[in-house]
Symmetry: C2
């Protein structure tokens, strides 16, 4: 997120899904060798940012995301122009992905091990299915912010990774917005990684 | 600031000037030996948090603050019950302090080297006076958030220290609120200090 707490810029569109200026929040990851490899590209940085990306990819056995993160759209699937193509034919997850939606749909299998399963009965069901699918791996709650906030509110986040990027966006989508009454008030900082790119990778656990 | 970006809790009152839960944001400093010494107390922690406090105290030659941070009040001085007593007879600054206000007032000299000068002609004048008073030292913009934001907007902040405390406050006063159109968009992270108390001390400079 940016220094001022945004995980996407303002004016998110299908052409600019991370909003104005939002891509800058991910440049450290886009440049990393491990990220490029997961997206079928060669080369890339092998710095500490790359280790953070690698670790995330290696440890995660399943991902949960919101509908908007899946397709950029909302509403019935037949009206959604990106219902299939948004993440490409070989998506970067390479594991089962559970998509929170109000609109039922059959699972979709892509190349490279990524399957999309559509969950209409809520965040706890999605987490349960993702846990079963992840085996010994972690379940990543990928976003968007509203989905992360719902899991925080429900007390279902064990660990949070914040990647603090030295930018002031000034506007956009906040990761922490609103009171989050059910979220843990106090966390434990378990790791701080300083990167030469200026990004600080912070890991927090819910205090026990 | 808290993980969710607040530098004070909600419902700031004269009895609870940092708002509900806001004192927790400063516990790392309150516990430090250097902070206690500046406030005329003995003992305290001598950890890395203490080094951060020490460094700040040693390097700063003058401080700028807003009227509300000075007295907790607003409006004419004769109506302000804390116009004199808020920071005590021996305030912790031990150097010249410049208070931004709309209400003219003669300077006040306290014990231990702290003088309060009241500046009614704007943030640039306050900074200029503070620079002259600071000599070789730095000028600290102490707060509140609105004063920091005004200096950011004017492009007058060279360096920012953020002390990220592992708390979710959920509500309160944000350090970065609003678009801040004149503020630098990109900063340079110049230092990351991890503390055993879970606080991360981040230093940023405006990118050159």
């Amino acid at each position: 997120m940016s220094l001022d707490g945004f995980i996407a810029g303002p004016n998110q569109t299908l052409e600019e899904p991370l909003g104005a200026g939002g891509e800058q929040l991910h440049e450290w990851a886009f440049a990393a060798q491990a990220w490029r490899e997961a997206h079928g590209m060669e080369g890339g940085e092998t710095n500490v940012d790359n280790e953070v990306v690698e670790e995330g990819l290696a440890g995660v056995g399943a991902t949960v995301m919101g509908r908007r993160m899946f397709s950029g759209g909302e509403g019935p699937w037949e009206d959604d122009p990106n219902a299939d193509a948004w993440w490409g034919e070989d998506p970067p997850f390479h594991h089962p992905v559970f998509v929170l939606t109000h609109h039922p749909r059959e699972p979709v299998q892509k190349e490279g091990g990524t399957t999309f399963t559509f969950v209409t009965d809520g965040i706890e069901s999605a987490l349960e299915q993702a846990r079963a699918a992840a085996g010994d791996g972690d379940v990543a709650v990928a976003g968007g912010a509203d989905v992360v906030q719902q899991y925080l509110e429900a007390g279902l986040i064990d660990e949070m990774q914040l990647h603090v990027v030295p930018l002031l966006l000034g506007d956009g989508v906040r990761l922490f917005d609103g009171a989050l009454p059910g979220a843990p008030r106090t966390l434990e900082c378990t790791r701080v990684i300083e990167s030469p790119t200026g990004v600080t990778h912070l890991t927090y656990r819910a205090a026990s």
